[in-house]
């Protein structure tokens, strides 16, 4: 390649490289640098403290609760979303009538704005006027102060997370189901695997493998990012019981203005997200056995 050509090449790539540096790589480096300082937002001086922020983090009960809650949240949301999404997809796929309606109906929560939906959930879960408690009382069961009980708040938030995510999972599973060759079901029927359970085990689930991996990672990433519902419904309470990673990050950075500490939490968050993304990229590459 001539020098002229390579110069033109660089010139053409330059805007892209610049945007990448400015919008992605720059801020990421900045986060790592700030995480090593005690900078407070608006302060005109800062000093480098090395790994001090991370040491503080490791003993900070707020952060530990947030990390723990986020993991618990993800461990509830991911499997529940997978199962609910898959079951809904199988049910929607098995019906011939009203298919489009069911598909749209189940996908609605995924399209709705979480901020608006959180308010609707707040109304439903209200301890005295909420529909949920009214229904419980009607059935002769004990009402519950769902969002202010430290034992119920996280499962309730997770349930809302499942409600919001499973439509997405369903749509992905539906696409995966459509891609399974009908001949395989025919072959399974001739081979003797014709009960619903055998079909599921012999054909459907194995061939949905790549879709399941994809959905797990997507839902996993989304549940690590839970924020809106926490911010609107509980503000991390009661007593840190619903504090999650992104909410702590937000509060430290923008309410307490501990920008350095916030940046350190961001680093942790970034590592978690990148790990999941890497796993996804790796496994997506290894889909060879399905060709």
């Amino acid at each position: 390649m001539s020098t002229h050509e390579s110069r033109v090449g660089y010139a053409l790539a330059a805007p892209g490289i610049l945007a990448l540096l400015l919008l992605f790589i720059g801020p990421t480096i900045a986060i790592f640098v700030i995480a090593a300082t005690d900078w407070e937002l608006g302060a005109d001086r800062l000093s480098f403290v090395g790994l001090e922020n991370f040491r503080v983090m490791s003993v900070d009960p707020g952060f530990r609760a947030a990390l723990f809650n986020t993991i618990v949240y993800a461990l509830i949301v991911v499997p529940a979303t997978m199962i609910l999404g898959l079951v809904t997809a199988l049910l929607v796929e098995s019906t011939r009538t009203w298919q489009a309606f069911y598909r749209a109906a189940h996908f609605l929560p995924a399209m709705a704005t979480m901020a608006a939906m959180a308010i609707a959930w707040e109304a439903l879960l209200h301890p005295t006027i909420g529909l949920v408690n009214h229904a419980l009382i009607f059935l002769g069961l004990q009402p519950e102060n769902w969002l202010h009980n430290r034992h119920t708040v996280l499962p309730v938030l997770a349930a809302i997370g499942v409600w919001q995510n499973f439509g997405n999972a369903m749509v992905l599973f539906l696409a995966g189901l459509k891609a399974i060759p009908q001949d395989l079901y025919a072959a399974a029927a001739v081979d003797g695997a014709d009960s619903p359970l055998d079909r599921l085990r012999t054909v459907t689930l194995p061939l949905l493998g790549p879709t399941m991996m994809f959905v797990t990672i997507i839902v996993g990433l989304r549940s690590l990012e839970v924020f809106t519902s926490v911010q609107i419904l509980t503000q991390g309470g009661p007593d840190q019981a619903s504090n999650v990673l992104l909410y702590t990050l937000y509060r430290e950075s923008f309410e307490y203005l501990n920008t350095g500490y916030g940046a350190a939490i961001t680093v942790v968050f970034l590592v978690m997200v990148c790990t999941l993304t890497l796993i996804q990229a790796r496994t997506m590459d290894r889909r060879v056995h399905y060709t």
Binding site: A186, A187, V190, D191, A193, H289
Partner: protein
Amino acid sequence: MARLTLRDISKSFGAVSVLRDVSLEAQHGEFVTLLGPSGCGKSTLLRIIAGLEPQDAGTVAIGDRVVDRWKPKDRDVAMVFQSYALYPHMTVAANLALPLQMRRLSKAQRLPLVGPLLPGSRYIRERIAEEVRGVAKSLELASLLDRKPGQLSGGQRQRVALARAMVRNPALFLMDEPLSNLDAKLRVQMRAEIADLRRKVDATFIYVTHDQTEAMTMSDRVAVMFDGRLVQVGPPHLLYDRPATRRVAEFIGSPRINLLDASVRSNSSAMSGTCEFQIHCDLAPGTAVTLGIRPEALHLVDNGGAGVLSGRVHHVEYLGSDLLVYFQVEGNSEPLVLRAPPQHAASLRPDATIHASPRRDGVLVFDDKGDAVSTPTVTPFRSQRTS
């Protein structure tokens, strides 16, 4: 004994009728091919035989038993699909073992983890593995048992699909265009392998294809289907020499049969343009008919005259063993084709005038509906396997 009997099978998808009153019988051990253009209903018929699709009317009997309400797995049939339909997540060995496991292991014994530990399970599994190895060996798949279908070539996948059908020892082999995804060379090879398989196993074969060469080379009898109807069923040579309709005549044979418009003069002759042909038919003089002449039923003669087609050479295809001479006859829109020995190659330049005369009894006559009206005497030739 696995005789297959189809009686008056009909099937529609919505308003589209795909099969109409199809009746067919295949004797035990017979190789019957359903041949027809795509969309003629042959695959649907095969799926009905397999039990994958219910028919709207008619009955399917295997042996002496009507199996209409039986599930595919209970019909003792094995099927080979055009797409092979191998389970992509399983090794070749697991693919071959599955139909046996489904039959011989109980529900509990098939459970993952726990299943293999249950009493009896291990013994059955070992037996299955042994049979799988045996079948794999006979199809030269032994070295591929641990591979997954994605790591195999098209021909190997096809052999695995055959092995999966074979491993169960079914009474009826159903094959749905099994060779159409293979390249030409492999197709010839697999044709031989299927013929081989057929000699090895004591089963009845129903083979679906749109490829007349496959049908002609492998079958005891061929059932030609058009638009959901069986048009003619018979051994390959009969379909070729005595096609029941003009469409069958056109569909079978390559290059295609020559067709000439003509009108009947007497019960032993018909005129096409200025050329008079000897035929046998009892249609009234003046009736419009179509004459069909196979390319090899025409031979070159030195001079024109009565009963001789004269025309100009359009182009010549050299095939090594013989020549295909395309020539244009006045009054016929399409060029005719004749098969000539390769020695004639030098004299057959484009635009040269040639004369061709049909072999005695080489002229087929079809009426205006396309049905054959004459039955030319053909050299008696009977397949040994059909009675």
